[in-house]
Point group: C2
Chain length 287, copies 2
């Protein structure tokens, strides 16, 4: 056992305060009980947290889960590792954590939109997406398809909430993201930062009158735009008219009759795929 690995035997031990009442400790610091910690669960996501820019505070797990994890991951010597039993973890966290391995980290200074856009050719812009799982799924999709970053308009849930981190498979810790300033009716002005950098702004909407997605992603000569920002809104209401008016074009994923729109993260995946595919095929053709 490495010197940094310590067995915790009392649920009152202050060394595991990070994970005490876990359902509130990862809430934003401005919310009741919220400490704003970043919490990673399971070996894959804990490993990605260690590789990220977030300063890890501690790793906590069942003895055999720690054995497995430490045999495959290098943990810096200054990060404490706490062994706990399943019962003790449940008592401290407030519920049964069957995964048996987690880590906490501090938040870091958020990137600015300019930093996210630096060198980017495709980004997603979200408005009113309040569901943590949808935000997490969005990051997983965006990461897998090689999109460069995510910008948040108003009304979006905290992407660093534990459930978002888990559903994203930890990619929310890797894919650059930033918040656009402004309220429900003013954040759209912040889109100027994209326009100034030459991004084509494309709103996704189920509106049958909108352009076909594949066409909206090409310029008049049929070539993919050099820089594209894809905007999506919440499931149900979709993007506000304010937001759509601030974009260059409205694009639709054609839906079969008598069906609903796709889930917001799925719509984003389809749009991102169409974007990278257009560019990828062009590259393969030697353009």
């Amino acid at each position: 056992m490495s010197p940094q690995r310590v067995a915790i035997t009392s649920s009152d031990d202050p060394r595991v305060n990070d994970i005490r009442d876990l359902n509130s400790s990862d809430k934003r610091p401005d919310l009741p009980g919220g400490r704003g910690l970043v919490v990673a669960e399971g070996p894959l996501v804990v490993g990605r947290l260690l590789e990220s820019a977030y300063p890890v505070r501690q790793i906590v797990g069942f003895p055999h889960k720690l054995d497995d994890f430490l045999s495959e991951n290098e943990v810096p010597a200054d990060i404490p590792i706490y062994e706990v039993s399943r019962e003790l973890l449940a008592e401290v966290a407030g519920f049964d954590m069957h995964r048996g391995l987690l880590a906490t980290a501090d938040r870091i200074e958020q990137l600015s939109p300019e930093q996210v856009l630096d060198g980017a050719s495709t980004v997603m812009v979200l408005e009113g997406v309040g569901d943590h799982e949808n935000i997490g799924a969005m990051f997983r999709n965006v990461a897998g398809l090689g999109i460069d970053g995510v910008l948040f308009g108003s009304g979006c849930a905290d992407p660093l909430y534990r459930r978002s981190v888990r559903v994203s498979m930890g990619h929310v810790l890797r894919v650059p993201w930033a918040r656009l300033e402004g309220t429900y009716t003013t954040w759209q002005r912040s889109l100027d930062v994209l326009r100034e950098r030459g991004f084509r702004l494309i709103s996704l909407t189920p509106d049958p009158g909108a352009a076909h997605l594949a066409q909206a992603l090409r310029d008049e000569e049929g070539r993919p735009w050099e820089k594209v920002a894809l905007l999506v809104g919440a499931e149900g209401p979709g993007l506000t008219e304010h937001a759509m008016k601030a974009t260059d074009v409205r694009a639709r994923i054609p839906m079969a009759p008598h069906t609903d729109s796709l889930n917001v993260a799925t719509s984003a995946a389809v749009a991102c795929w169409e974007r990278v595919r257009l560019r990828g095929l062009d590259e393969e053709a030697g353009a």
Copy 2:
């Protein structure tokens, strides 16, 4: 109040036995406590159940939820409608059902694979997809993108389980589906029914050596195959080698470095989109 609408005032009333201990009543009849009922929750899905081929047994809801629903939906006079309080529903169902509106139906005879394939040009084939939410999401995506049907190989969860029905937005009650016969190592022979009908069988895999999805969906002359079956496996293991060997080609959705594969329902959405898009654009071009 219509004659068929009855207020239930005792949790022992046998008329609401359909929803008693709801977590087991919709299990397959061959499982402990399983009655195999189809359970729809919420006005959208209850409405789709009424439009489906499944014989509805009863509708149950809070008084104001029933008022809203009945003002917008025609319910045949032989279907009983039971009014319940939130407390009574929670007691009967075994948990708090905040949606406050549900309906039950009997299962119907399953379609044969031949019936699903009749007139179909694009179908999904699933192997080992054991997660009810993934199955539900798959049906939502497949319905939205206008795919003709779904076939189940071995190891898949019950698509009529309540959670699948809910996540599918009720589309599992509308999109034709069937089971292919055989065990883990033999069901792949049932794919012959597709081959005989001229379907191009395409396995989806993250394998970097596989063909690009966009290329796999076209024939040698660059035109979309007339009939396509897209095969997907469970998240994690993916399709078995057995299954992939039984198909014509392996196709990949190219993934960014250091990322995971997409969620299985999301992968299916991307592949279905690519398929309908290829065909759609060709049609728009007058081919």
